[in-house]
Amino acid sequence: MSSLLQAVNEKAVRLGIPLSVHLDVTYRCNERCVHCYLDHDDNGELTFDEIHGLLQQMADAGVFYLTLSGGEPLLRNDLFAIIQRARELTFSVKLKTNAILIKEMEAAMIRDLGVEKVQISIYSHRPEVHDAITKVKGSLDRSLDAIRFLVSQGLKVAMAHVIMSQNRLDYPGVQALAAELGAECTIDPTITPHINGDRGLLKLNMSRENLSHVMHDPAVLGGDPAKFCAPPLPATDDDLDALPCSAGHSACYISPYGDVFPCVQFPLPSGNIRAQKFIDIWKDSPQLKEVRSIRMRDLPVCSGCAHVAGCSRCPGLAYMEGNMRGPSTADCEKSYAKTGIPSPNMIRLGLAGGSGR
């Protein structure tokens, strides 16, 4: 990240400005991915007028980065109208989509509207594996065609690849495909629980052995395993004073029904924009204030863990596990997979060998 961007983020946190908002415009979807954390019904989505008003409120509040997603955002036939309005208000707009509805015309429209980036989920370079995950035959071909159309329009495309048990062998193929098509590729080795709390989806996660292999791959780590997988250094005061992440500090999430959460992966109900103004929720919500009060040293278990400085701990996953100040076992697993050193949480849960069982 450039030093200017870093300075901008730090300033936003310091001033308490919601620099980034992730807005899901619908939970409806035309795929049925096996690992999806959402229900795909329509329970009364925000109308075009409501979104229009919300966009103005967000611009006034200082929101700069707007991510539009879902479900599948292109199922809203006012999506382009929404993007157009967001661009008139000079948001930097990122679109997350499965892209099976994006053909040449849509790619040109997305480009003309000045969308900054399009992120598309690709589960494998092999159609049979990808389509078995999305449950739509032909979806990989359609998504890849869309990537070609978008890239040919000069748009930045990111392939988001989630690794689970059934596609665990395919991430090198996906990375190669991304390189070939001129797209970035990000890899995420964990499945999130359902937004309603049901943890059944977690059984789709790959095995610990596979995770270890993945977390030693330089192509995934983005660097030398000798560096990333080394035993963690002792935590400094700065590490303990650090924020868990930007959720609630300079970023938040809004659902298609107007519910505000710190993050899509941190579904703590913090207010609803149908009942209150966005800025009032951002500033005065007791839930967001509580989230903002937490520093790493306030976490009873994690503050004493060797991994506290380098762990990828997601407070949202911790919240879904039962305690927003508690550990996120999925992230303990990742730290363990990288370094071979189990966290106190893992030992306590009996997930790894260690003393005191």
Partner: protein
Amino acid sequence: MSEKYIKPSRDIAARMLDDEMIVMSVRDSAVYSLNATASVIWGAADGSTPLREIVASKVVPQFDVEPEIAYQDALDLVEALAREGILVVADHPIKQQDSA
């Protein structure tokens, strides 16, 4: 000297963050920070108000600077932003660009 007219390029994102304007070119994702004076000029860049007038009516009173120096600095600024592709600078008023 002819009048200069300025208007933000269509393919940008922008937001005031306290006293600076953050501008991003959506094509290459380059990010810029405009200081207080530059932000005032950017905010007044409607394509129809001459730069000279923007400087005289907004910059000079707010920042208590010499008008000629302020105008020269403003010219340098807008030309630099034009080179980066984030601001359109012309010798004639700039019409409303069509939306997609």
